[in-house]
């Protein structure tokens, strides 16, 4: 399971277990294009009312990749083991929402430089709890 926040380059990336990190990087990286495709697919006029949650981006042999894009085009990607059936669409959606909220909190930090990698303990802990839940 891996998780990542993006502005086309990782602001934050975290994966469990850590040894397969490269694979997750790869998966997340490729999924960005899918995300972009999905966004550009929606018409400009509808962009404002667009659903932030993009749903399942694509399934691979081992993983399911879910995407979420904020209005400021920050992308969240969650990669889940495809054998993990406990996570339904709704759970993923709520995970994303939680993630988005805490991401907003990070952004509210006046000492955070937009574009820097996220190094927030609060964010870390939220992500950790989410990962623990999911696993």
């Amino acid at each position: 399971q891996s998780l990542c926040v993006h502005l086309n380059y990782p602001l934050y990336i975290r994966s469990v277990p850590t040894q397969g990190e490269l694979k997750f990087h790869y998966t997340v990286h490729t999924s960005l294009d899918v995300v972009e495709e999905k966004i550009s697919g929606v018409g400009k006029a509808l962009a404002d009312q667009r659903e932030l949650y993009l749903g399942l981006l694509y399934p691979t042999e081992d993983y399911k990749v879910y995407g979420y894009v904020t209005n400021s085009k920050v992308k969240f990607v969650i990669v889940v083991d495809s054998s993990n059936t406990s996570l339904r669409d709704n759970e993923i959606r709520s995970m994303f929402r939680k993630l988005h909220n805490s991401f907003t909190d990070v952004m509210c930090n006046p000492f955070y430089n937009p574009g820097d990698p996220i190094q927030s303990k609060a964010f870390d802990s939220i992500v950790s709890t989410m990962m623990v839940q999911a696993c």
Binding site: P10, L11, E21, D33
Partner: protein, 1364 residues
């Protein structure tokens, strides 16, 4: 995809051109050979027609042919065989590199700015070479020969005969069936007779006549007289002539020579080609050389090359040229040396003539013919075919050859099959740019082939139909992309013919690109990549990447990803340069974006590739990039990286001519500089530094008689980031300078640094010279390390840093000359931490790290606040000053723990370790009352400390007890003049100077601080040189001592006016005149042993009580009980004692002003020896505490009492108490007592502590009777004394008791009367009770009851009741 030089239309047209064969006679070949060219080569630059041609299609409509190109080749030119072709292609690609500083194409996609080469010439080269080397195939006629030129030299004996011979030869080749190659388009090939005339040699008239003859024979349209070689060979070789051949021939020999490894490659390739060529020699041509890509089964003698006469014009590259190109690449053989510009024009004219007069009419004729055939056959044959097909169940065509069965691609038609006729006609139309007709024909052909399941043919037709459709100007129909897809799929999957598929793919991709269908093109290209050819895959992937970036919404990541794939394939294909370029382009996308692992991979590959391409600088940079950043790689990976880096670095340094040391910015640094004697481990304390500064200021003020000079700067021995570093620090010659450098290893692997030392720059200066001129050149040890005579540089041989460790290295410099020193950096050998015997010394690299210290951020002015500026930091630029004295101080017998008020004697030793004498030694301290060096008056000659060890710290005189000894001492004798506490003390030196190497030992008395706890005592030793230098006026030495003080005795003294009878009288007398000065006073000293059972200290013996005061002195001890125990006043733990003394006024005979300044010391000893308190230790400390202030309110007394007592350990025997115990002195100043009430008497009640207990046992509960005596002692004339036993409450004892009997007494006491009261108490249970509850009130007999005053509350009298 990158832009091409040609447009798509041009590209496709050029891919399919009419082919013309050439058959040369030997003589003709010889003529052209003069120019080092064969005949086809000679023509090649002129093969593009500049003017338009015209021809009529079957419907008699004029078709315009624009920019036609024809391809002229020798009749026996073979497409290269597969391995050879691969080699040629790879060579062509590797030779073609992006030009240096080519116009960079910056693409901005989102937040990426990518710098991408606009064109990919290597790809175009590859494509061109690839298309040219396509073997001729059965299923299409596009690269079959349409015509044949027969070339004969005019100097031939009988040219006509020769023409005949050649014509027969051609016919034989085409029709005899001996040769399967070359392929011919149409059975009756156009023959064009060319008479080649060498102007420089031949007879022109003869040539003309022969030409006339030819015209007669072949018609004007079928022959030509070509005159060349206007000048004779080598004469005008130096003349500048355009060389149009250069871009067509031997590209290897003209490429820039610095690409030497490519040339090595091409060398090898060429040699191989040469070998191949040899192998293909006519003699051994009969070996079964099979062309794996040939569509048909080649016969052994497939090519008409075993004709000896034609072997000369065999290939484009003839052997002599090849030899030349192999031996010398830089000097290509000059071509066309015998040709003038006129000759060029001749050739151009010739080609034009040939095309327009010969070729185009020939094609036109053939198209018509074919069209007629088809039209005539249409009705019949079509229906016939379909009918037969139905008849035979389909799939079989009567004309089919046997070959169909073994051909996987489906059917093989015989060359005269009607389906092929359509195809043939389509191809002809296509070649002459009649695309509409061509498309129609292809379309028809496609249908036929498909219905026949002839897949290869069908695919070919599909492909060409698509191309033709695209090329139709003003296209009536959209480009049928699915035709192409089907064609490619068929080629690849059904026919297994990758070459054709590739060609098709290249065409299709190009067309799609021109229609901005980039994503389709990319998909196509990516599909075409496969395992069998790395080069092809690499090129196609790269093109695909370019497609991605050129899309309307550029897909940057896909671009980068495919670039990397391409780079990988390039490197597999051995195209290192291209691989490197691909990786570099991809790096632009990944750089600094946080894709750490990907970035590392790219950098690593770049490093490797750069290294193999001998660009060690780039390699080092790339490898460094991997190592510097916070690497997420595993330790193993990091080790590998580091090894590689070191290796690369090493190689680079040996290679590069100027061996510049490169800083490895692996580490962050912090610096500290220190002079000698300073413990570097001590943390800089912000609170402490002003303290030292203040101390130093005081000393300097004392030295300068009260004023601190303006130039004063506190000495700073240890500099770090918090100290004031604006000044250049001063260092002394011959004294070491230590720089502390913090190294941090960010990697997960250990690093071994060796030969670690500082790098410095030094400018010698002679400071004794008043101008301070530079006395020498600036020297640095950057280049040479052997400068130890100027500055001794310490080298740390081994310095290992564990993974992710931060470690401090201390590097020492010892300057031997004065001047200005600048520490520039550190140098070291960097190696991996592992022990590797075989290449242990190999794998290390000299590194350098510059030390640059940033000063503190400036934040004072507005500009500084709004911007980020940093102040200078001169920590590492010390000035080396001339020799200064250097002091070392040792403390001998210095205690770490003292009792409060304990006096201990220690020794201090001053050593001058420098080569110059020092003077003006002073000491300042934060606790001046803590120590004393003794006064000058007390001339205690110091013996050695060892001898004095067991002696007492005091000066003692044997004396019977209770004798008062008085001495008068002036405070000036102890160096105390004013009221404030003396902070600075001067240390006496013999002759005021401590010579070099000399040592001085003096005694030192220490007195334990009055408060318990750990005390930090700072000493600042000040000294200066005998010679004054401008740079450094004085030096200081700091010392901090820690003393742990533990509780000993608490002494409380109260003084009260003696209430004798005469006191009233005296008071009145005083009021009147104040002459009776001989008053007396009672001094009560409460002593309590509050020592909390320290080991070894149990009881204190009070030995002596002394007083010192200006007006008062102790007179005698009036302790009430006279037994011996009390005289020695032994106090065990928690015991309390009370001493009572009578003090009298000093005698006034000494009187006068001087006596008021002097202090009277009076000693009352309780033992057998008297301690002279007016001498050194006691008096010193007395005065060091500061003089008591004047009484405030006309007070009665000021005075001090000192008490000397001894302690004894419990474990010591009684006999050696005296010996072992150490003297402790307690100084106590009795404060001024001001009497406020008119009641000027005091009553003193002493409970005797050893309460007698009479415990009587009875059966009843409460019948214990006790009896204790109470002493009432008063000195008043007559009192009514009221004793209330109705004590309030005794909360501190549990349980209670009650007094029995009378609880209130009213007594009248006479003066000096002692009255005993007997009180009874009753206890109900066992326990501890305080009997000291009675309160005593007293009043003078005459006064009223209101004046009753409470007397001093009784001391607790505890009683322990045991239960029986």
């Amino acid at each position: 995809m990158a832009q091409c030089v040609q447009s798509v239309q041009e590209f496709i047209q050029d891919s399919f051109v009419p082919m013309v064969a050439v058959l040369c006679s030997e003589d003709a070949e010889r003529v052209t050979r003069k120019n080092s060219l064969s005949f086809p080569e000679l023509l090649r630059p002129f093969c593009r027609l500049t003017s338009e041609g015209h021809l009529r299609d079957p419907n008699n409509q004029v078709v315009v042919v624009k920019g036609l190109r024809i391809s002229v080749t020798g009749i026996n030119t073979r497409p290269p065989q597969t391995p050879e072709m691969h080699r040629l292609l790879s060579q062509a690609v590797s030779v073609c590199q992006p030009p240096e500083g080519s116009p960079a194409n910056v693409i901005t996609a989102g937040d990426y700015d990518l710098n991408i080469s606009a064109t990919t010439p290597w790809f175009e080269t590859y494509r061109e070479n690839f298309l040219q080397s396509m073997p001729a195939s059965e299923h299409e006629f596009l690269n079959h020969y349409l015509a044949c030129m027969l070339v004969v030299s005019s100097c031939e004996a009988v040219p006509t005969e020769q023409f005949l011979k050649l014509s027969q030869e051609q016919h034989r080749i085409q029709h005899s069936g001996e040769y399967t190659h070359p392929k011919w388009f149409i059975p009756n090939t156009l023959k064009y007779y060319v008479l080649l005339h060498d102007i420089s040699e031949g007879d022109e008239q003869r040539a003309d006549s022969v030409y006339e003859d030819m015209k007669q024979r072949y018609g004007t349209q079928g022959c030509y007289l070509l005159k060349i070689n206007s000048r004779s060979g080598s004469t005008g070789a130096d003349e500048q002539m355009p060389d149009p051949w250069s871009q067509y021939l031997h590209k290897t020999s003209i490429h820039n020579p610095e690409l030497y490894e490519e040339s090595a490659v091409s060398n090898a390739v060429e040699n191989n080609i040469g070998a191949e060529e040899d192998g293909l020699d006519p003699s051994i041509r009969d070996d079964n050389e099979t062309h794996p890509l040939q569509l048909d089964q080649p016969t052994d003698a497939g090519y008409p090359s075993n004709n000896a006469s034609q072997s000369v014009n065999n290939v484009d590259m003839t052997r002599p040229q090849k030899q030349a190109s192999v031996t010398s690449h830089t000097t290509p053989t000059p071509r066309g040396t015998c040709l003038t510009l006129n000759d060029h024009d001749h050739i151009r004219q010739f080609i034009q003539e040939f095309t327009f007069r010969g070729l185009l009419p020939h094609i036109e004729k053939n198209i018509r013919q074919l069209n007629d055939q088809l039209v005539s056959r249409k009705g019949l044959s079509r229906s016939l075919f379909s009918a037969t097909k139905k008849l035979f169940g389909g799939g079989k065509v009567p004309e089919k050859s046997i070959a169909e069965l073994k051909n996987t691609a489906g059917l093989l038609y015989p060359s005269e099959a009607p389906e092929l006729q359509i195809r043939k006609m389509a191809d002809l139309c296509f070649l002459v740019q009649h695309y509409e007709l061509a498309y129609n024909c292809y379309h028809t052909a496609k249908k036929d082939f498909l219905s026949d399941q002839a897949m290869l043919y069908a695919a070919g037709a599909l492909e060409m139909a698509a191309v033709a459709a695209f090329l139709q100007s003003g296209a009536p129909r959209p480009y049928p992309a699915h035709y192409m897809d089907t064609a490619i799929q068929t080629y690849r999957d059904v026919c297994k013919n990758m070459l054709l598929a590739e060609r098709c793919c290249l065409l299709s991709a190009e067309i799609l690109k021109s229609q901005t269908k980039y994503s389709d093109a990319a998909t196509l290209l990516i599909k075409m990549t496969s395992e069998d050819s790395d080069l092809r895959s690499a090129l196609l992937l790269e093109q695909a990447a370019h497609c991605f970036i050129n899309m309307r919404g550029p897909m940057v990541r896909k671009f980068a990803f495919h670039m990397i794939l391409a780079g990988h394939r390039f490197s597999k294909a051995g195209q290192k340069r291209h691989a490197l370029r691909c990786y570099c382009q991809a790096l632009q996308v990944y750089k600094g974006k946080g894709w750490a692992l990907a970035e590392d991979h790219i950098n690593f590959t770049i490093g490797r590739q750069s290294f193999t391409l001998r660009q060690p600088d780039n390699a080092v940079a790339a490898f460094r990039h991997i190592l510097i950043n916070d690497s997420k790689q595993s330790a193993v990976q990091q080790t590998a990286f580091l090894r590689e880096y070191l290796y690369v670095y090493k190689v680079r340094n040996t290679h590069s001519t100027s061996c510049i040391m490169e800083a490895l910015t692996l580490f962050s640094t912090g610096e500290k500089q220190a002079a000698t004697h300073v413990s570097l481990d001590q943390e800089f304390d912000r609170d402490l530094s002003p303290l030292w500064r203040e101390l130093e200021e005081r000393v300097v003020a004392v030295v300068n008689r009260g004023a601190v000079p303006i130039t004063f700067q506190p000495s700073q021995c240890c500099l770090n980031s918090q100290t004031d570093n604006l000044r250049y620090p001063l260092a002394v010659v011959e004294e070491p300078i230590i720089v502390e450098v913090v190294f941090r290893n960010p990697l997960k692997i250990p690093l071994a640094l060796s030969a670690l030392c500082l790098l410095w720059k030094f400018t010698p200066k002679d400071f004794s010279d008043p101008q301070g001129n530079t006395a020498g050149e600036t020297i640095t040890n950057e280049k040479t390390m052997a400068l130890n005579d100027i500055i001794d540089t310490q080298v740390i041989p081994e310095f290992t840093i564990s993974p992710e460790e931060t470690k401090v290295a201390r590097l020492k410099l010892l300057p031997h000359k004065t001047g200005e020193l600048h520490v520039l950096g550190v140098v070291y050998n960097l190696g991996t931490g592992e022990v590797d015997n075989s290449e242990g010394d190999l794998m290390c690299v000299r590194g350098q790290q510059n030390l640059e210290i940033q000063g503190p951020r400036l934040n004072m002015t507005k500009e500084e606040k709004t911007s980020v500026t940093y102040g200078p930091d001169h920590r590492l630029d010390p000035i080396i000053t001339p020799l200064m004295p250097l002091l070392e101080v040792f403390f001998i017998n210095f205690p770490t723990g003292l009792l409060c008020g304990e006096i201990r004697k220690a020794w201090v030793e001053f050593v001058n370790v420098s080569a110059v004498p020092l003077t003006g030694l002073r000491v300042a301290s934060t606790h001046p009352e803590f120590f004393t060096f003794g006064s000058a008056a007390s001339d205690l000659t110091p013996v050695t400390p060892t001898a004095a060890e067991h002696c007492s710290a005091y000066k003692t005189v044997a004396m019977p007890p209770s004798v008062e000894i008085v001495s008068l001492v002036s405070p000036a004798a102890f160096g105390v003049t004013s009221g404030d506490r003396p902070v600075v003390a001067e240390i006496p030196l013999s002759q005021g100077v401590l010579g070099p190497g000399e040592a001085l030992q003096i005694p030192l008395w220490l007195r334990g601080p009055d408060r318990e706890g750990v005390h930090e005592i700072n000493f600042l030793f000040y000294y200066e040189s005998t010679e004054k230098t401008a740079k450094l006026s004085h030096r200081v030495l700091r010392h901090t001592a820690f003393i742990c003080a533990s509780r000993s005795l608490s002494v409380r003294a109260t003084a009260s006016r003696s209430n004798t009878l005469h006191s009233r009288e005296r008071e009145t007398e005083e009021r009147q005149e104040g002459e009776e000065k001989n008053g007396s006073m009672l001094v009560f000293v409460d002593v309590e042993n509050i020592n909390t059972s320290e080991a070894g200290v149990r009881e204190f013996h009070i030995v002596q009580v002394s007083s010192s005061s200006r007006q008062w002195r102790l007179h005698k001890c009036i302790n009430p009980v006279g037994d011996k125990e009390n005289r020695r006043a032994i106090l065990a733990s928690r015991e309390r004692g009370k001493l009572c003394f009578k003090a009298t006024r000093c005698r006034t005979e000494e009187g006068g002003a001087s006596s008021s300044q002097k202090y009277t010391f009076a000693d009352l000893n309780l033992g057998n020896e008297q301690i002279v308190s007016s001498t050194t230790p006691c008096a010193d400390f007395f005065f060091r505490r500061g003089l008591p202030s004047e009484p405030r309110r006309g007070g009665v007394s000021t005075g001090g009492a000192s008490q000397i007592w001894r302690q004894s350990g419990t474990d010591d025997g009684v006999t050696n108490i005296v010996k072992k115990c150490s003297e402790v002195e307690k100084l106590y100043t009795v404060g001024t007592e001001s009497i406020q009430t008119p009641l000027n008497f005091s009553l003193f009640v002493i409970f005797k502590k050893n309460v007698l207990l009479n415990l009587q046992q009875s059966n009843t509960l409460d019948s214990v009777k006790i009896h204790f005596s109470e002493l009432i002692h008063h000195r008043l004339p007559s009192h009514t004394l009221v004793v209330y036993l109705c004590s309030p409450e005794s909360l501190e004892v549990h349980g209670s008791f009650s007094w029995l009997g009378q609880t209130q007494y009213k007594l009248q006491l006479q003066a000096q009367e002692v009255y005993r009261l007997s009180l009874k108490a009753c206890f109900f249970q066992a326990g501890v009770y305080n009997l000291g509850t009675p309160r005593v009130f007293a009043k003078l007999a005459q006064t009223s009851a209101m004046c009753e005053t409470s007397q001093q509350s009784a001391m607790p009298a505890l009683i322990i009741i045991n239960s029986v």
